[in-house]
């Protein structure tokens, strides 16, 4: 048609024709096409550089696009599309799950593995691929039609989603100039994260995901800025299983979200975790191979929080007061928040502060209401060890007053309680060692802790333990930091009651001429009765016990102590330091024995 354009002066054309010899090369180099896609695996033509390519077809675009008579959904699509997919679902998902649409449906026309790569609409026969390949070969890029282990796509990402879901960027951030974008229907699609024509960032990512920069365009996790999982420069020592199975980053900070998560073919299903077993995602680093402390060793001990025994029970959407018995790392730790900031030193006279490992975790307050985040340790423990139906373990012994709800045992109005939720009831506790006063607060982990933890030996001000802190695992029953023998007729020793003697001066307890119960020596050393026979270490609920009979953590074990005649088993307080006992123990009928 251009030959029909009229020219006013042939002479001018002739002159111009000569000049064209000079001008033409210039016009050819004005804007050369940048055929970036030709250098990627998405060049399925015979000139492709990947292993999956055509035997002779030389057109690149044709595998996806055609200029005429194509699939009528934009992008001039040249392919048949799938019809039925299993979408991603999750208990925490707020966006609406549905079948893939828009550009995502187009991507899936190869990446679901059901439609031949060479099946294009403008050819009557399929384009032949080398090696007899038809559909996309098995591998990470073949997502299948089950998308439940893939990041959701084809959902509306709007302000209301952000408001309901939280921890998401405003949709206005997902528009140009951002290269991470929603589509024209405000929907998140494959193409939000991937640019199928440009593999500059590998995996056809819209922007490089170093330090999870791509993830963080949308996901703004609370506490993330302080998390060591974002900031740590720790590297893998090369031992054991690689902690980074699908990424190339060599530090924790470089992998960031992908230390634990993967957006496609995730082992962990709805959480999009690397592995289905929750703790496995943690333990490939926290086994001494990346993180400074080896938690795996602690978890392997006989007694502990056995995170490996259950999989798929923990649910981030579960109630703060846990209803189904389980324990996973995430019940006590928020992996988006954790950091190495030290908690407060045991003892002293101020309320304990949480270590960085417990930042951003939900809890149950001493009054039984949800707190988010917990501000003190026992609130986290109360998730399971208080009102929840998951409350385990059962009490170790039958006692006169039975109570297994730790929240009730630690009420500050109780006749006695270890000083967990508030200072203890006694104005004088003469056995306390240096560093501890009647104003001190006790943390659950002062007693229940790894038996190699920082404070497992030495003193609070000069600890000598070298293992990690926290109630992960112990060689001692009930996950105790130190030995606490409860067998009747046990010879007293510093070692057998090491847990009690951590804070309570052994000399003061069993020595003579001290202010402690003067018959301690007779009972513990002479009669070889363990501490637990008389003392209930957590506390006695005010709804069950009385100041008269249950001060001093007195609540007798009924497997050792029996009645004196028909009288109720009891101790009665007399003054500040005296008392009377009504029971039979070790064959001795204490019918009102007093001191």
């Amino acid at each position: 048609m251009r030959r029909c354009i009229s020219f006013p002066h042939f002479k001018a054309v002739a002159v111009a024709g000569v000049l064209a010899l000079i001008v033409l090369p210039v016009s050819l180099t004005v804007a050369p096409a940048d055929a970036a896609v030709a250098t990627t695996k998405h060049n399925l033509s015979v000139s492709g550089t990947g292993t999956v390519k055509a035997t002779s077809e030389n057109q690149i675009c044709v595998f996806c696009h055609a200029p005429h008579n194509n699939y009528p959904s934009g992008q001039l699509w040249n392919r048949r599309v799938g019809t039925s997919y299993t979408p991603y679902t999750s208990s925490t998902r707020k966006s609406v799950a549905g079948q893939p649409n828009g550009a995502s449906l187009l991507c899936l026309s190869c990446h679901d593995g059901t439609i031949a790569l060479g099946e294009v609409r403008n050819r009557t026969t399929n384009i032949s691929m080398t090696g007899g390949v038809t559909t996309l070969p098995a591998g990470n890029t073949n997502l299948g039609t089950n998308l439940s282990d893939d990041h959701p796509v084809s959902f509306v990402y709007d302000a209301s989603l952000v408001a309901v879901r939280g921890e998401l960027a405003a949709p206005t951030a997902l528009a140009p100039p951002s290269k991470v974008r929603l589509d024209g229907s405000s929907q998140m699609q494959c193409t939000s994260c991937h640019n199928p024509h440009d593999n500059t960032n590998t995996k056809f990512l819209a922007i490089a995901n170093t330090s999870s920069a791509l993830c963080n365009v949308c996901h703004l996790k609370n506490y993330w800025s302080v998390s060591d999982h974002k900031n740590s420069t720790k590297t893998w020592n090369g031992a054991g299983t690689t902690p980074w199975p699908h990424t190339t980053g060599t530090t924790v900070a470089a992998n960031a979200c992908e230390n634990c998560h993967r957006p496609h073919t995730a082992g962990g299903g709805p959480r999009l975790l690397n592995y289905a077993a929750e703790e496995t995602n943690c333990m490939n680093c926290h086994n001494g191979n990346v993180a400074a402390k080896n938690i795996q060793t602690e978890l392997n001990k006989t007694y502990g929080h056995k995170v490996a025994t259950r999989t798929g029970v923990h649910d981030p959407a579960e109630a703060a007061s846990v209803a189904t018995a389980h324990v996973e790392c995430q019940d006590c730790h928020n992996p988006h928040a954790v950091n190495a900031t030290a908690g407060s030193v045991p003892g002293g006279s101020v309320a304990p502060t949480l270590p960085g490992s417990q930042v951003g975790v939900r809890g149950i307050s001493i009054s039984g209401t949800e707190v988010n985040p917990a501000t003190t340790e026992y609130e986290i423990c109360f998730r399971c060890h208080a009102d929840g139906a998951a409350n385990t373990p059962s009490p170790s012994f039958a006692r006169v007053i039975a109570q297994n709800n730790k929240r009730l045992e630690f009420q500050t109005t109780n006749p006695s309680h270890h000083a967990v939720a508030g200072a203890g009831r006694s104005a004088t506790v003469p056995s306390l060692l240096t560093g501890w006063t009647t104003a001190s607060r006790v943390k659950c982990t002062d007693c229940h802790n790894n038996n190699t933890g920082r404070y497992s030996s030495g003193t609070p001000s000069a600890p000598t333990g070298t293992g990690p802190n926290g109630p992960h695992g112990s060689t001692y029953p009930n996950l105790l930091e130190r030995q606490y023998v409860t067998t009747d007729n046990t010879a007293e020793s510093a070692a057998n009651y090491a847990l009690c003697y951590k804070c309570h001066n052994r000399t003061s307890i069993i020595g003579t001429g001290t202010n402690s119960f003067k018959e301690h020596n007779k009972h513990i050393v002479g009669e070889r009765a363990p501490c637990s026979v008389c003392h209930d270490p957590h506390g006695i609920s005010s709804t069950q016990g009385t100041t008269l009979s249950n001060s001093r953590l007195l609540n007798f074990r009924t497997d050792v102590v029996t009645k004196s005649g028909t009288q109720a088993i009891r101790w009665e307080r007399v003054g500040t330091t005296g008392g009377k006992c009504y029971m039979t123990c070790h064959g001795e009928n204490h019918n009102g024995y007093s001191y």
Partner: protein, 200 residues
């Protein structure tokens, strides 16, 4: 200014000669040569063109009845261009290829032979066809992000003409030359034609 005019004319002249040389031996025997059909009067050119009394508004010495259809336009969430109803040379092409005007409606006659139902019949629904009749400007290239910046108001790159500033059917197709198949202006081996504009 004068030099600029000559340079512009020079570029156009190259295209002029190139188009001539490519198509001179082309249309005869191609699918656009209807001289074997009785209704063509055994001529090649006059189905579309006439040297006298042509449709002046249509230009190109146009001799064929023009389509009066209203077309459904291509749309896409990622489309930055603004296609309008087909204009210029595209409307001439669609006067056969939309299937609403008979092939033999030319020279004032109303014919009865329509384009066959095959891939060349685009219909009036152009939503599944590459957009046309939109201005391809530097601003469009910038907005899209993966389009080559046009070399001039008349060219995308060498060999890919614009009409005014518009992309039309004739940007990709040379209706007089079947050399490259599908009347393509240049060979699309290696998707070379697509990649003239699309810097993917």
């Amino acid at each position: 200014m004068r030099f600029g005019k000559i340079v512009a004319a020079a570029v156009t002249a190259v295209l002029f000669f190139a188009a001539n040389s490519a198509s001179a031996a082309g249309i005869a025997g191609s699918k656009h040569d209807f001289s074997a059909s009785a209704w063509s009067g055994t001529q090649i050119c006059n189905v579309c063109h006439t040297p006298h009394n042509a449709n002046q508004a249509a230009g190109q010495l146009w001799n064929h009845a023009l389509t009066a259809a209203t077309f459904t336009l291509y749309a896409s969430s990622t489309l930055n261009a603004a296609p309008g109803q087909p204009t210029g040379v595209s409307k001439l092409c669609l006067s056969c290829h939309d299937g609403t005007v008979a092939l033999d409606s030319f020279g004032g006659a109303t014919g009865t032979n329509f384009i066959a139902n095959n891939s060349a019949k685009l219909g009036t629904d152009l939503s599944n066809d590459h957009p046309i009749s939109f201005a391809y400007t530097a601003a469009l290239a910038t907005a899209d992000g993966s389009l080559v910046t046009p070399a001039s108001a008349a060219l995308v790159v060498a060999g890919i003409p614009l009409y005014g500033t518009n992309v039309e059917c004739g940007s990709c197709h040379d209706v007089h030359s079947p050399t490259n198949g599908a009347f393509l202006r240049v060979s699309n081996a290696g998707s070379a034609l697509c990649l003239k504009c699309h810097t993917k």
